[in-house]
C-alpha cells in the first residue's frame, strides 16, 4: 500500500514569491492534515480536513496561507507571498475516521523542506 505522497521534496524560493505544496493521502483516509515543523520542534497543525471540509484552520495564517482539498482526496497548500520565517518542513498526514476518532494514528508523508531566501 502506498503511503502519503508529497511533492516537491525540496523547494528554494526568494521571499515574496508564491509556493505550493501537494499531498496525496493514503487511499480511503478521509481526514487530512497539514503540519509545519521547525528545526528541533514537533509538528504544529496548520489545517485539518474531513473529506473536503476544512474543520480546523485556526492555526493557518490566512493572510498568506491557503489550502484546498478538492473532491476530498488530494490537497494543496499555498503560501503567497512567502516570507523568510516560512522556512520549515511542511508535513502532510492522513488518518481514517473523523473527529470522533481523533486518537487514530496518523500517517505522515516525507514532508517538503522549504527554504526562503
Amino acid at each position: 500500500e502506498a503511503g502519503v505522497v508529497q511533492s516537491p521534496r525540496y523547494k528554494i524560493i526568494e521571499k515574496k514569491q508564491p509556493v505550493a505544496f501537494w499531498c496525496n493521502p493514503i487511499s480511503g483516509h478521509n481526514t487530512l492534515y497539514w503540519y509545519l515543523q521547525n528545526l528541533g520542534q514537533g509538528p504544529e497543525l496548520l489545517i485539518r480536513y474531513e473529506n473536503e471540509e476544512a474543520v480546523d484552520d485556526s492555526q493557518l495564517p490566512k493572510d498568506r496561507f491557503s489550502a484546498e482539498r478538492l473532491k476530498g482526496v488530494d490537497s494543496t497548500l499555498k503560501i503567497q507571498p512567502a516570507e523568510l520565517g516560512d522556512s520549515a518542513v511542511y508535513l502532510c498526514a492522513s488518518s481514517l475516521g473523523l473527529a470522533a476518532f481523533s486518537y487514530n494514528e496518523q500517517f505522515f508523508g516525507p514532508g517538503t523542506r522549504l527554504t526562503v531566501l
Binding site: P43, L91, A99
Partner: protein, 110 residues
Amino acid sequence: SQKIEQNSEALNIQEGKTATLTCNYTNYSPAYLQWYRQDPGRGPVFLLLIRENEKEKRKERLKVTFDTTLKQSLFHITASQPADSATYLCALVSFQKLVFGTGTRLLVSP
C-alpha cells in the same frame, strides 16, 4: 499556559541497555497519548497509543506508561539497538487534534 515537555538534550545509551524517554504536560487533560518516531528527512511514524485508563502498554521491545496524576508519560525501549537511534515525539490528543512535544533524540551506540 499549555506545555508538552520532552528532554531537549539527546539521550546517549549503549546498545543492549534500556532507553527511557519522558513526556511531561501542563494544563492538558488528554484522554489519549501517542508516541511517534522520526528519522532525519522523514515524517513521524506512529508507534503506540495509550488511553487515560491504561497504565501501561507494550509492543515488542517498547513500553509506554501514562500517569494522569503526575501528568507524565514514560517511553521505554528495552534491549536497545543502534537502529533505534531517532527522535521520539510524544503527542496528546486535545480537542480532536494531536499536539506534539518537541521530541527527544536518542542515540544508541554499539
